[in-house]
Point group: C2
Chain length 303, copies 2
């Protein structure tokens, strides 16, 4: 039986799992050494220190998704243009040079598409979408992957037909930590659902984020909102701004893939606007890498 | 003849001018000690070090606008609610306690208004608007004051009837210096007008700032836009996002007040969307403080 070392190697962190031949998770591991923290030429050493013990000769393979396949990563796996499904992506998996006799290590390409002359890209999320489809046994839908740079993707007949990135997570970090709003809000306050939903609904008032964000300051200045509620309100304004641009009435349901803290927030926001959701976490990544591993050439055995 | 020491004391810097009785500028002075850099109780000393030589007994008065009148300033001058013109603001000017025999120092209040339960505020811009009206001999119009926190104000019959703040300048600073976009763009590149206008027009595509901002990265990644053009494109996206929410077709002309670097950018953006502009700079501040000085009580002479 072949075991798979499945890795999602992102910008600021990485996660790995050892899967058995059926795709079941035997062990998980995570680390803070995202690609930005790996020195030039340092990928083999980081990989070795984290996963050597899982990489047994004679049947183990490794498949890596995420930013490790970017120009700044371990080896560049050029983007696969949409529409693209498991077959198109599987065909463009790239092998990393390893010493003879070592288990194979391969990298999944990301996806690209273009809207009105502006390209858009993802790396890693395509694997989570393929995994979600496998786990839910569906081949179409709208998939939302919240994070620093959120993705909204549409899938038809098993292929991602198009997607867009939203910098919602990064805007929230910048505004809550570095803007004038940081002086009044408490970024560590727990989620206040009422303030969050108030922000979501406010975002649709036609005045735009540049104006509505300033309200986070004036509501505090005039003591209309408690300090503990401001971060939730701002988060709601940002996620609401993201939802504002979607044709939500056209979606029966949205599949959310990500950390439970984020997918729960999006569920709250989407329900407030009348859209149903289903939530998935890391299991989508492992299922996606397992599904893609079927496309690895099994003819080349360790010598 | 009475001379006026006119000061606009902002958050991050201050500017002062010595005006003669007709309002003509005799001398100007600026300093980096905005209110955030003045230690607790330190306002009299900073004022003294900068303006003592202008403050001659027997006829000199001083009028200060801007954040010096806020809670974090020298003395709090509570906001004046809209609609408000020179008369309403003039009546709420606050005197600072000074030693007997010293020239009077007074502080102009800011303005407040409210939209759907969210307050909005300005401090200092109201003086620039009053000054622009005096210089242009008009008593109505749409006034735009670009800066860290831009203001769009509507004036009818000499009174500001309503206004909104947009965090456009602060968003630009955060994104161009601290976001992932900072890695590819050159914030010091000179304005590229074509890239700027491309950003302005793109902002109206219905996809929102959170998505469009990411295009600044992907256009660079796919070498569709030169590094030198990216900052201008991002600036255009932000200013375009601000214009997107205005009913520009209803405005015959917009009066822009601010630094020439910013008012020129807004003029480019507004012309691209078919709106005419007129531009004013610091002269609007001095004219506004001179106009308000007519409301100072002249009965209390130095003892």
């Amino acid at each position: 039986m072949t075991r798979l070392v499945a890795i999602d190697w992102g910008t600021s962190s990485l996660r790995g799992a050892l899967l058995d031949a059926s795709g079941a998770v035997l062990e998980e591991r995570s680390d803070a050494r995202g690609i930005l923290k790996v020195p030039a030429g340092g990928f083999p050493a980081v990989f070795e220190s984290l996963f050597a013990e899982w990489m047994q000769p004679g049947g183990t393979r490794c498949l890596i998704s995420g930013m490790a396949g970017s120009k700044q990563g371990w080896v560049e796996a050029p983007y696969c243009a949409c529409p693209a499904g498991r077959v198109e992506v599987g065909r463009r998996i790239i092998d990393i040079d390893v010493p003879p006799g070592s288990p194979r290590i391969s990298v999944v390409p990301g996806l690209s598409n273009e809207h009105d002359g502006v390209p858009d890209v993802m790396r890693g999320e395509e694997v989570q979408i393929f995994g979600a489809m496998a786990l839910m046994d569906i081949d179409e839908g709208v998939f939302v992957l919240p994070g620093t740079h959120n993705k909204w993707a549409t899938v038809k007949k098993g292929r991602v037909t198009g997607f867009r990135t939203f910098m919602t997570g990064e805007f929230y970090a910048l505004l809550s930590q570095h803007s004038i709003l940081a002086r009044t809000l408490d970024a560590d306050a727990p989620l206040d659902e009422a303030a969050f939903v108030e922000g979501v609904m406010r975002a649709d008032n036609g005045q735009g984020l540049l104006h509505n964000a300033f309200g986070t300051r004036t509501l505090a200045l005039f003591e209309r909102m408690a300090t503990q509620e401001l971060a939730s309100y701002l988060s709601g304004l940002l996620i609401g701004e993201e939802l504002r641009t979607q044709s939500l009435h056209a979606f029966g349901e949205v599949v959310l893939i990500g950390s439970s803290a984020l997918t729960q927030r999006y569920t709250l926001a989407l329900r407030a606007t009348g859209t149903a959701t289903r939530m998935l976490g890391a299991e989508a990544t492992w299922a996606g890498l397992h599904a893609l591993s079927g496309f690895l050439d099994t003819g080349r055995m360790p010598s």
